[in-house]
């Protein structure tokens, strides 16, 4: 199960994240399922930032994996899974720091062990029960 996020997203991505966590809590036999959240903002979402983010959601534990990579690797991966993102607008703070926000796909995927796409969901608003039901059918 793979969700796609960036940690500076205040709204949608927190629900994608929470949905992945909730599916794990509700599924009966999660032993064979891997739960991953992959950032499409690798410049800011360093491993340390992802770790802090996971901790805030109480998901800094197995079986959850918060993943990042070099920007070119992330870009190629996002193309393969049809996840798009683009800068929408930015804010500049008094200390000179610039914070930008992204328009992005809202997506959770179920991928099998042969890298085949099984299900493609709207990530933030899809009922967890629907994903659980699909997983248990597999």
């Amino acid at each position: 199960m793979v969700g796609f996020i960036y940690t500076h997203c205040p709204d949608i991505c927190s629900f994608i994240t929470a949905n992945v966590g909730k599916v794990y809590e509700e599924i009966n036999n999660p032993g064979n399922t891997q739960f991953a959240l992959v950032t499409f903002d690798p410049e800011r979402d360093t491993p340390e930032v992802l770790k802090d983010y996971a901790r805030a959601f109480e998901m800094d534990r197995e079986p959850f994996h918060f993943l990042t990579a070099e920007p070119d690797v992330i870009e190629e991966f996002m193309q393969r899974v049809s996840v798009r993102s683009q800068e929408s607008y930015s804010r500049e703070f008094e200390d000179g720091e610039r914070m930008y926000f992204l328009n992005h796909s809202d997506k959770i995927l179920l991928i099998d062990q042969n890298s085949r796409l099984i299900f493609d969901y709207g990530g933030s608003m899809t009922p967890v029960s629907m994903i659980v039901e699909d997983l248990e059918k597999l």
């Binding site: 983010y53 805030a56 929408s88 804010r91 703070f93 720091e97 992005h104």
Partner: protein, 156 residues
């Protein structure tokens, strides 16, 4: 008499969650205040230090006039703004600063996931489940209203 009528003024809002394949609709009933603005059911999502968070709530305007949100502040964040998430089409979601911070008379405006929300930026400290975060909404007519929002997981 007007006060009695205002007190009895009920607003029912239907909330729709989920996609078209499996919609879950719940209703929430509100009693508007006799006058001015009250806030109901405020909560915040978790966030990491230096990161961002969002606060959701129902804004109940019981007055006979439209009110306007002029400013937002929080001791927990360097910058606080009213934002809205919107569907850009083709599966893309966007976010922008809300251009309509208006709260109609005798109405409830809901800040909800995937819609209007109060955005906290540059968090002074991590917001974990069980914490509380304070935010002050400054309205043109109702003045300052300070709300304490519990931090919850989005699926609580």
């Amino acid at each position: 008499m007007n006060k009695l009528i205002a007190t009895a003024f009920l607003v029912i809002i239907a909330f729709v969650f989920g996609c078209s394949q499996d919609e879950e609709i719940t209703e929430r009933e509100f009693v508007l205040p006799d006058d001015g603005i009250e806030i109901a059911d405020a909560w915040a999502r978790p966030g990491r230090e230096n990161g961002v968070s969002a606060i959701y709530m129902h804004v109940l305007n019981g007055s006979a006039e439209i009110d306007t949100l002029l400013a937002l502040s929080s001791p927990s964040a360097g910058l606080v703004e009213l934002h809205e998430t919107f569907d850009r089409g083709e599966g893309m979601m966007g976010m922008r600063e809300s251009e309509e911070p208006y709260f109609p008379d005798k109405s409830v405006v809901t800040m909800r996931p995937g819609g209007m929300h109060i955005m906290l930026m540059q968090l002074n400290e991590a917001l974990n489940r069980g914490d509380e975060v304070e935010v002050t909404l400054t309205f043109a007519l109702a003045g300052d209203i300070t709300v304490t929002a519990p931090v919850q997981s989005p699926n609580d």
